[in-house]
Amino acid sequence: MAATGFEGFEKRLELHFSGDDPLGLRRLLGFESLERVLHAVQCSIVSAVGNRHVDAYVLSE
């Protein structure tokens, strides 16, 4: 059986939505909502930063 180390290669998912709210997903997906989604993925938020265009989160793993 091959030895197993940490898998660096990432999986990347990008979803685009339509909607009328100027804040859209940024309003909808607050910290608690994101944590619930990320719980399904098996990771969590460790750090965050944002500007007027985007919210960026560093995740565990």
Partner: protein, 288 residues
């Protein structure tokens, strides 16, 4: 791992044995409650180093595609899955689904976001230079938090110079490993590092507008490769609103890496519905 949330777009990138695709039904439940409609989806990944360690639904690309097919709404009726091959061990797995068949989406997208003329650059690097990779280990005596140690790694590795304008959020894991996100206006960049010798890996990704041309791509790519000096790397460029045969990006990528001593081992181009054109190239370092 990283997450980016725009008003009409979400990007999640996770490593290890995370079950990324399990986020799809959760997100669709949540967005459906507020009337947001999914217009398109793109899932990409390289070839896992340890594929047998991956849990459901990531134990094979076929399984991942089946999972997406079952969980995406039927309105995304244009769907395509491909593995872009390479002579190296790096292959690029792509799944895209869209409401529309064309990659030249109208400028007035339903969400009001201008997606034309943007590109996503994804770089995957293995066999990192050992001395450079050691910068991404915490010192045993270091009792500072991951954010403080992360800032030290950003500075010592020269990552802060890749885009000096960016607002950077960085984190050092214990005992090793590093992640950073940089945001600059509506563009982002992200770097993740696994420095262990037996499975060393680093990735770089950025999303940029192509209004200023592709010249900046070469500079960014060279800066990133100098930070890690990988033995093997793959470069995927996904362009919205372009066609593979008229993309100047791929020759620029090859030329800029040739100057750093890298030889191209493979090249593939493929159009995806609603996701644009993906140009995928792999390179190996000339060893003395």
């Amino acid at each position: 791992s990283s997450l980016f949330v725009y008003p009409n777009r979400i990007v999640i990138k996770t490593c290890g044995t995370t079950q990324l695709l399990r986020s799809v039904p959760c997100l669709l439940d949540k967005t459906g409650e507020l009337g947001l409609r999914l217009q398109r989806c793109r899932y990409t990944r390289g070839s896992f180093i340890f594929p047998h360690a991956q849990p459901f639904p990531h134990s094979s690309f076929r399984e991942e595609v089946l999972y997406l097919e079952e969980n995406l709404p039927g309105s995304l009726c244009y769907r395509k899955a491909r593995v872009l091959p390479s002579k190296t061990s790096h292959s690029w797995h792509v799944y895209a689904a869209s409401e529309r068949d064309d990659d030249a989406l109208p400028e007035e997208d339903d969400g009001g976001e201008d997606v034309l003329g943007t590109f996503t650059l994804e770089v995957c690097m293995t066999q990192l230079d050992r001395a450079l990779a050691r910068r991404f280990y915490r010192r045993r005596t270091d009792v500072s938090g991951g954010d403080v140690a992360g800032k030290e790694m950003t500075a010592s590795a020269g990552i802060g110079g890749i885009n000096p304008r960016a607002l950077v959020c960085d984190f050092a894991f214990d005992p090793c490993g590093y992640s950073m996100n940089g945001i600059d206006g509506d563009c982002y960049s992200t770097i993740h590092v696994t420095p262990e010798d037996e499975c060393s890996y680093a990735s770089f990704e950025c999303v940029e507008a192509t209004g200023g041309g592709y010249a900046g791509v070469s500079d960014v790519l060279r800066s990133v490769v100098r930070v890690f000096r990988p033995g093997t790397l793959s470069v995927s460029v996904c362009v919205m609103g372009g066609r593979g045969d008229d993309l100047p990006g791929w020759s620029l990528v090859a030329d800029s890496l040739k100057k750093l001593g890298y030889k191209r081992r493979g090249r593939a181009v493929e159009d995806f519905p609603g996701a644009g054109t993906i140009v995928y190239q792999t390179f190996t370092a000339h060893r003395k």
